[in-house]
Subunit: 463 residues, 2 copies
Amino acid sequence: MTDLTAALAEVDRCFPDSLARVTELLRFPSIGTDPAHHGDCRKAALWLAGSLSQMGLKAGLRETSGQPLVVGRYRPPGRTRCPHVLFYGHYDVQPADPLDLWTSAPFAPQIRKGKSGRQSIFARGASDDKGQLMTFLEASRCWLKLHGSLPFQLTVMIEGDEEGDATHLDRFLKRHAREFAADVAFICDTGMWNRTTPAINTRLRGCIGEEVTVRGPRIDLHSGYFGGPAQNPIKVLSRILAAIHDGRGRITIPGFYEGVRPIPPAVRRAWRGLAFPEKAFLAEVGLSVPAGEKGYSVLEQIWARPTAEVNGIFGGYRGPGSKTVLPSEATAKLTFRLVEGQDPKKIRRAFRNFVRARLPVDCTARFTDAGGDSAGFVVAEDTPWVRAASRALEDEFGRAPVLAGAGYSIPVVESFKTHLGIDSLLVGFAQPDDAEHSPNEKYDLESLRRGTRAWTRIIAELS
Amino acid sequence: MTDLTAALAEVDRCFPDSLARVTELLRFPSIGTDPAHHGDCRKAALWLAGSLSQMGLKAGLRETSGQPLVVGRYRPPGRTRCPHVLFYGHYDVQPADPLDLWTSAPFAPQIRKGKSGRQSIFARGASDDKGQLMTFLEASRCWLKLHGSLPFQLTVMIEGDEEGDATHLDRFLKRHAREFAADVAFICDTGMWNRTTPAINTRLRGCIGEEVTVRGPRIDLHSGYFGGPAQNPIKVLSRILAAIHDGRGRITIPGFYEGVRPIPPAVRRAWRGLAFPEKAFLAEVGLSVPAGEKGYSVLEQIWARPTAEVNGIFGGYRGPGSKTVLPSEATAKLTFRLVEGQDPKKIRRAFRNFVRARLPVDCTARFTDAGGDSAGFVVAEDTPWVRAASRALEDEFGRAPVLAGAGYSIPVVESFKTHLGIDSLLVGFAQPDDAEHSPNEKYDLESLRRGTRAWTRIIAELS
């Protein structure tokens, strides 16, 4: 029996224990953006540090300007020159609301068959990122247990601000760059191409978050006394939001597309060859027609085109019944997904100027930086890490991985490049119906098992 | 000493008791649109019925499809033919939010000097309508106490759904029209022209309330996975709201202005003669320029032009921090202020069609009738009631009352006309800075005292 065969058998044998550990981790309501849950974040971090120690790593917490960072260190005994892998994941999760749409409570993990007929574990964070990060940790745990050592030096870094303000970790990495020097970062926070085909992500969109509050009258007004002559901040805000896109779905903010390169024809052809099931992708969430920029396929819109999205809006009376009030202010929360070439700081400025230019007399706007400032990113594909992962994934799934893009943002990829000078290998096992950021988030038990096996194969490739 | 002189002296003498009774009434948090406060509405109604009994009326509660109606009856002993006056007020009040902007708690009435330097009583409902309705009741109480009888038959009717759904009282009046036959309705729910000049209101705008929820995706989505191709209901709703007005502030809903007559040149001239202090009116609430329909003065916009206002909006993430979610729905609450000639039912239909015509594929809209359906109204000016009130107000204030319009709605005026066939006499003593529907609502002690004296003079005029 080779090292690999034995390790895979051990992964399968230990699967119930792995699942039990994932379940424990999912019980922490570690919502990093909500101050009420900061205690839970620390508890989740301590649990992870304990788990890393138990595996044989030297682990503990490091304080940052945000939530604590879990750091675990491993150096293979006796080896002088071997590669140094930095594994990254995040223990913070999205807020769970709206709670009434959850079938089981978001922080009481439940294993049941989902709509697809597959067994899944349902909980906030199941897929994003607790279940995913555990695939690597469980693979490493099994390998260490069986073979006594890993074929590389390992630093595990699990943060608590991924869903919130990426600048906490960015600042930490900038300050401690030398201490965290490594050859490559492994990240497990992405998805498979489909149920049977793995993927390595080489493109990520960046993201910036903005909150804007438009103020008009000094106080809320009675619409009977003032309806007509008084500025209504909801109307003003609506007009501004409505002006962000033109009739073809292009963003009208001046300078927004500065630096955005057209998608190379070869890349467009390759993506078309993937025969992405647009109809089924949209139908899954109750939609039928792509609503974005005209002239781009769904994949192109998500992988290679920037967006402006309104994530939340509120103003005036929101209680039961009606209230004939003209509110004094209205607020929108927005995020911009960015692609390589766009400067996050410039986009933020351009948006603020766009709003200011549309404010009528007697209205003001207050802006809040709601986190982000991560740029879009394209990762090098021709590296030993991508080649090793490609072979391992093909062995596990019987199909070569798709070199895919992703529409979301993993700001840490940019931080690793900037401060540590290293590329990231993005391998993940999430499924399109995992409902990350939505009620009834889940992770398939098959994703957990195959993911752990795939990382085991990657470890073997690096031996 | 004439009956009047004696009565005015008695009003002044009893003022501390009157104020104490107003304070008691203001302690009830009788928010009619909030089911959590329906018990408080009934308590306020019972308190009023008790107060009317104490005055010498035969009083009790009548059930409606909404909040209970307070009814008090008085018939002058020995008189066979005398006019029958129906006095109307409302004990329900607007919701008190945002609570943090109140200087003293909204239902713990506090007497203090306001910014104007006048002594006022601060509480939700102080002006709208508890303080106001008490001016008539206190005048009647004093007259009855002093002279033993009123010079008219009196029915007092105080409802609890004025700020909510006017159809409750409308239905009740329709069913019991014969029982509530009267010659005229007196209503005290309007304001003075300014601090020194009284007013009789002869024009009211109507009002309809609508709530619209735009739905897109079946579930909330991650903006990283779906940002671009997924419909965003906040964007769709913003575009619809932004399209309601054109660049000149005119409402673009087809058929909206059907039946609206131009303001007669003589009326425009009379209103211009009032020299309404537009700048000061707007400056009071932090504004400087009228934001409404171009080509109309502030007074014309409020008294004679219809509006479409957004009173509240909500959708997506509204908690602390940010959440990169594409929400599945977004909701707006709107009210339309209507003028004479507009059919409320047609306007509601026209708005719904306007929204539906703007829904992109994959989006639906759900509409909720949020109350109203009251038409705009012009009351006859050449009646014995208006003449009697004009004389009385001129005697009290030393200035002839302005025959004014009002931008708000008193739907009961329409119900009285339709079901009882009677006109309404609208006399009130609210001041422009009373902050009805806003935090720190107040009623000036001077409004309470002079209002009670003015009604006393009107009673004398009818002797």
